[in-house]
């Protein structure tokens, strides 16, 4: 079995040589190439359908009101999603504030300091963390706050904690990658000049890796900004604006979309329109983050020779 990976088996080679490019082999080749290309097209259909449907169904729900009004006391298709947009921004921002320092410092630990058992344990647990189902992260945040604040608790910051659990491993992984490609000769040159290690890291390594780090963080934000399940069990559902993550329930776009679909008001279609409008807003945020991340990388990356 392993030999087939290293070289072609002798009988394969001789069969290839002996059998000339007959009609059968040529047609098998054509059929397989067509199948492979068809599989790719098939895989792209959902992508184009998604983009098309989000645009088609999301635009009718967009209005000035959608961005400026909350949904307090709104009936019959009135009201907007400003509270949900604000909530998404706040919850994500707090999650970022928690995750980025921990994630980047942990990556620095792994790449610059780590040795022995702690390093191995951290690598292992980061692997475990990447596999945590998002709903389980939500349950953890709930269990954590319930023990201190009592049952039924719902806070914006609980959602941020849940999202941090999902975001930290993404930040670590990407930061580790970019720190790894900072060449050692830069570090050695700094040491040769008598620069202490911490200054080498903060003044040489981090600035060299800066574009990559920012890109990684933006991609990580894009990955968590649309999370629904962990927020459904931690931040609760509310119709009015709340800008204080430490006090009371906080709405967000993903849960808003889910709720408008799940419990539509009297005017069903108006609620569905809002759900799709929220989806469109969400995907716009995700795409802007992704594109901005690429632009930042292209614009600010350090050329390493």
């Amino acid at each position: 079995m392993e030999s087939s990976v290293q070289t072609l088996a002798p009988e394969q080679s001789s069969r290839l040589l002996a059998s000339g490019l007959g009609w059968r082999r040529r047609s098998v080749n054509t059929v397989m190439m067509v199948l492979i290309a068809a599989a790719f097209v098939l895989a792209m259909i959902p992508l184009f359908s998604l983009v098309f449907e989000i645009a088609k169904r999301g635009i009718p729900g967009l209005s000035a009101e959608f961005f400026t009004e909350d949904a307090r006391g709104a009936i019959g298709g009135a009201g907007g999603a400003s509270h949900a947009i604000m909530g998404t921004l706040i919850i994500t921002a707090v999650a970022t504030v928690i995750s980025v320092p921990i994630g980047i410092m942990a990556a620095i630990y792994l790449n610059e300091y780590g040795t022995g058992r702690l390093r191995r344990a951290l690598t292992f647990f980061v692997d475990v963390m990447t596999g945590i189902p998002s709903i389980v992260a939500g349950l953890f945040a709930y269990a954590l706050f319930e023990i201190f604040l009592g049952p039924g608790i719902r806070l914006g910051v609980m959602g941020s904690v849940a999202l941090s659990l999902l975001m930290i491993p993404i930040v670590i992984r990407s930061a580790e990658e970019v720190l790894k490609i900072v060449p050692d000769h830069l570090r050695e040159a700094a040491y040769a000049l008598g620069t202490p290690k911490w200054k080498t890291i903060t003044k040489i390594v981090l600035p060299t890796a800066f574009a990559g780090l920012v890109t990684g963080v933006m991609i990580a934000i894009a990955r968590i900004v649309g999370e629904t399940a962990p927020l459904l069990v931690t931040t609760g559902v509310v119709d009015s604006m709340n800008t204080d993550p430490f006090n009371g329930r906080m709405q967000n776009l993903a849960v808003y979309a889910y709720n408008e679909y799940r419990s539509p008001g009297v005017m069903k279609q108006a609620s569905y329109d809002k759900a799709w409008a929220a989806a469109l807003t969400l995907i716009a945020i995700v795409m802007i983050l992704n594109i901005a991340a690429r632009l930042v990388y292209r614009r600010y990356k350090t050329e390493i020779r």
């Binding site: 990976v5 921990i102 942990a106 709903i135 349950l139 049952p151 930290i168 889910y258 679909y261």
Partner: protein
């Protein structure tokens, strides 16, 4: 001589003076790094402890106190079945497709556009799961209704297409297909990376011997990437097991334990069950849901560990 002495002295003095600060700065910085590492370990231990302590009451409670009046094992078993069924269905559809997509990008499509095609596939991974859910219920579900009707009529003798076919499209088949689309980019990314690393000398050797492109792929690229494909498939499976919102929105659940993929009566999944019931639950029901979350965590962790082990072994070779 004297001047040399003074410089040496000055150097020593400088070193002593700044060395103290240096060591302090280094100590503070390295301890911060270690602290971040330890924080993560504490956080994960916290996850385990808090979930266990909140889930435990449900494990010891009597059947009558729990939701649906069942013992915990009876409560979680159908959910675990649904979870595995949906994820397995997704992997079954996604893996061959992902392998083909990876082959297309690495070995079939013109190299000039390969990078762009890769971005397109990765875009699928950037779409939030709530949107997949809405797409599944409003677009794919209704589109699948006539297909499922046809499956029931023509292939109804196979138990998985037994029917009666759903008229809303909220079936296990649709949920599985949506999950398949969601995990496709993960599986294909892993496969792509491995396929692209197939040694050139093998590919060129095969072609020099007169192999067609497909024969070259079958004899060199596929054997080379096999273990990566397996580990990628398991990573995708792990993702599908824990996926919540798409299933929550799409699947119409009855608690039935069945392999019938096209009917209205489906087993729920652990994650979807939590999302559906958690917001309105209180007391022991919450503990029971958290305990099911632990079961889900265990299932996904075993799957992911399996994938990591395959990758690690492969890296050693």
């Amino acid at each position: 001589m004297a001047s040399v002495d003074t410089t040496t002295n000055a150097g020593q003095l400088l070193a002593a003076a700044s060395g103290g600060r240096r060591r302090l700065g280094d100590r503070v910085f390295s301890r911060t790094a270690v602290l971040a590492a330890v924080t993560i370990l504490v956080l994960l231990t916290g996850v385990a402890i808090f979930l266990l302590s909140e889930g435990f009451p449900a494990l010891t409670a009597s059947a009558s106190e729990l939701p649906e009046g069942k013992s915990f094992v009876d409560y979680v078993a159908p959910l675990a079945f649904g979870t595995v069924l949906a994820a397995a269905l997704a992997a079954l559809v996604a893996v061959p497709l992902a392998v083909a997509v990876a082959l297309f990008i690495t070995h079939v499509a013109p190299p000039r556009i390969a990078l762009t095609l890769g971005y397109l596939v990765d875009l699928l991974a950037a779409i939030p799961s709530i949107i997949y859910g809405l797409w599944g219920i409003f677009v794919l579900g209704p589109a699948a209704v006539p297909v499922m009707k046809w499956l029931e009529e023509k292939l109804g003798f196979i138990p998985i297409f037994d029917g009666p076919a759903s008229v809303t499209g909220r079936t296990m088949l649709v949920a599985g297909l949506v999950l398949a689309v969601m995990i496709l980019p993960i599986v294909s990314a892993v496969a792509r990376e491995a396929f692209a690393q197939t040694p050139r000398r093998l590919q060129e050797g095969a072609q020099a011997l007169g192999a067609t492109r497909w024969e070259m792929i079958r004899m060199t690229v596929l054997p080379f990437g096999r273990s990566s494909v397996i580990s990628g498939a398991m990573l995708g499976l792990g993702r599908a097991l824990g996926e919540t919102m798409a299933v929550t929105i799409i699947l119409s659940v009855s608690g039935a334990v069945t392999f019938n993929l096209i009917s209205q009566a489906n087993p729920s999944t652990i994650a979807a069950n939590i999302a559906l019931n958690f917001p309105e639950s209180s007391g022991l029901a919450i503990n029971a849901l958290i305990a099911t979350g632990l079961v889900l965590f265990a299932i996904t962790m075993v799957t992911n560990m399996g994938a990591r082990m395959i990758i690690a072994r492969q890296n050693q070779e």
